[in-house]
């Protein structure tokens, strides 16, 4: 019941962006808006995904796990849109077209341009790494892949999302000129969600005590 609702809601930002772009409701620099908004929504979906485990632990609402794959895949979806917007609006739009636009040289130059930018600019390097870190998570998100990997290994692999969150915040931080209030806000959210995990693991670690452990085995 709730799941289709969440799915539609998660498409809301994209629907709004398309509507705003088509009706001229973005700023005078719509390409920059599309890049920024898809980026921010990626970070938001990463935060939502990271919030599900703390939410379950704190409220006991374990059914929330049902939404985690979906929100995670939406993070990857918006992240991919973000990356594509950058490739098209920033890199492709800045190319020379010596043989016309539809030519092999365009493809070569585009790959070169994206590659050089990722290599040369730390904030792009970090952003690209953040996106890359989501690829294996998206690929192994199916029930079949969970079975093949085994729950334990799957869980270990999917801790990569902690890195995604941290890199996403750094990427945002390095992008802004002087006003770091929003990156700081996201940094605090991601920080709190990760800190909760550390706290929870410590608080609930099974401490083998001298009396209990052998007794349990016996």
């Amino acid at each position: 019941m709730l799941k289709p609702l969440v799915f539609v809601a998660a498409l809301g930002p994209l629907a709004w962006l398309i509507w705003a772009a088509l009706t001229g409701n973005l700023s005078a620099n719509p390409l920059s808006d599309l890049t920024n908004e898809t980026g921010v929504w990626t970070l938001r979906f990463v935060c939502i995904t990271l919030a599900i485990t703390p939410l379950r632990r704190l409220t006991g609402w374990n059914a929330a796990i049902r939404f985690r794959r979906m929100t995670g895949l939406f993070a990857f979806f918006y992240g991919t849109l973000h990356f594509l917007t950058y490739v098209i609006a920033d890199r492709f739009a800045g190319l020379d077209f010596p043989d016309g636009i539809i030519a092999w040289s365009t493809v070569r130059n585009l790959v070169k341009s994206v590659g050089e930018d990722i290599y040369k600019r730390p904030f792009i390097t970090v952003g690209f790494t953040a996106w890359t870190s989501m690829v294996p998570l998206a690929l192994t998100s199916t029930a079949g892949m969970i079975r093949r990997l085994g729950g334990r290994r799957w869980n270990q692999l999917h801790r990569l999302v902690y890195l995604t969150g941290m890199l996403g915040v750094v990427h945002y931080w390095w992008l802004v000129k002087a006003d770091v209030r929003r990156p700081i806000t996201y940094g605090l959210v991601v920080g709190a969600l990760l800190a909760f995990r550390v706290y929870w693991t410590r608080a609930h670690a099974v401490r083998p005590t001298a009396t209990r452990a052998p007794a349990a085995r016996a």
Binding site: N29, S32, D179
Partner: protein, 324 residues
């Protein structure tokens, strides 16, 4: 029966017009601040409300064409809507549409500019006196932001050199420092310590005296809108936009170079000169190309923003990689 209609409002209850206007300003300022705060938290400014172009202002009279203008058939000026909804003016917030949404609380009249430092005519000048007898010119200029977007803007203004001469700088005057208004009642953005307020910019004397350097009072033949730096701002078209200081309240002649706000904020990214230079990248992005607002494909950025013929000689012998 005598129907007596009592006056239901006593005259003592009628709000004085002045008070009423003040209340309106207060409400405007308060809603401005609340909206700015909400926007800051949400981060999706565009989701809250679309930016509003500036209302059209008073038409300026006797504006002359200038040979220093671009040919508008070759370089088509950007729309009024673009120029008044998309810019940086951090005193009203750090989003591109913040100035257009919050600058109505700025009061550009009356306005005084304090002239100080190494000059004989130290005084507080009323804006009317600065403009008295001054011929206004339309100057269609390329405007290149350090963030790699650009516009063509039909400013109205007059050479800064004209005003400098009236201030009679002494031989010690090697630089000029400009200061923007700082008033948290008019400028909601200055309540956040994003930059050190007030905003300060500077020019070398020969840059300031250059015929391309103008003090701007208008846009598209009309009085300059608040969000674009009313009532008096600078335009130095071969330099990045952040040099074009807005809402100037102080001009000081100095022997040493002033420390401009962005250089103070991030000296490795923003220098004193800030000449448009496609060969010197910003540490975090390229300056080799730019997006002209309204276009899809990026343009190659021109050395000195295309004004090299007029200004390159100012920097002969200087290492522009070090003096960025």
């Amino acid at each position: 029966m005598l129907i007596k209609r009592a006056s239901d409002i006593r005259s003592s209850e009628i709000t004085d017009r002045k008070l009423y206007l003040n209340r309106r300003e207060f409400i405007q300022a308060a809603t401005g601040t609340a909206a700015a705060a909400a926007v800051g938290v949400l981060g999706s400014e565009a989701l809250v409300q679309a930016a509003q172009p500036a209302p059209h202002g008073r038409k300026l009279e006797n504006v002359k064409k200038s040979p220093l203008s671009l040919d508008e058939n070759v370089e088509k000026p950007n729309k009024w809507e673009d120029i008044t909804t998309y810019n940086n003016y951090y005193e009203f917030g750090t989003d591109k549409d913040s100035p257009s949404r919050f600058a109505r609380s700025l009061k550009p009249e009356p306005w005084t500019v304090t002239v100080d430092g190494e000059c004989t005519k130290k005084a507080a000048w009323h804006l009317e006196d600065i403009l008295k007898g001054q011929t206004l010119e339309e100057r269609i200029y390329r405007h290149r932001c350090v963030e790699a977007w650009s516009m063509i803007i039909p400013w109205v203004g007059f050479p800064l050199a004209d005003f400098i001469k009236r201030c009679e700088p002494t031989s010690k005057a090697k630089y000029i420092e400009f200061t923007t208004l700082l008033d948290s009642k008019q400028m909601p953005g200055v309540r956040s310590p994003v930059l050190r307020w007030p905003y300060v910019e500077g020019l070398r004397m020969d840059e300031a005296m250059h015929p391309l350097t103008i003090l701007v009072v208008g846009l598209y033949g009309e009085v300059l809108p608040n969000q674009d730096g009313a009532p008096l701002r600078l335009a130095v078209p071969w330099k990045y936009g952040f040099k074009h200081i807005k809402s100037i309240v102080k001009i000081k002649f100095m022997e040493k170079a002033p420390l401009n706000t962005w250089q103070e904020s991030a000296p490795s990214e923003y220098g004193f000169y800030a000449n448009v230079n496609p060969t010197v990248d910003h540490p975090r992005w390229t300056q080799a190309s730019e997006r002209r607002i309204g276009e899809f494909f990026r343009r190659k950025t021109l050395m000195f923003n295309g004004y090299g013929e007029q200004v390159a000689s100012l920097y002969s012998g200087m290492d522009l990689k070090r003096n960025y």
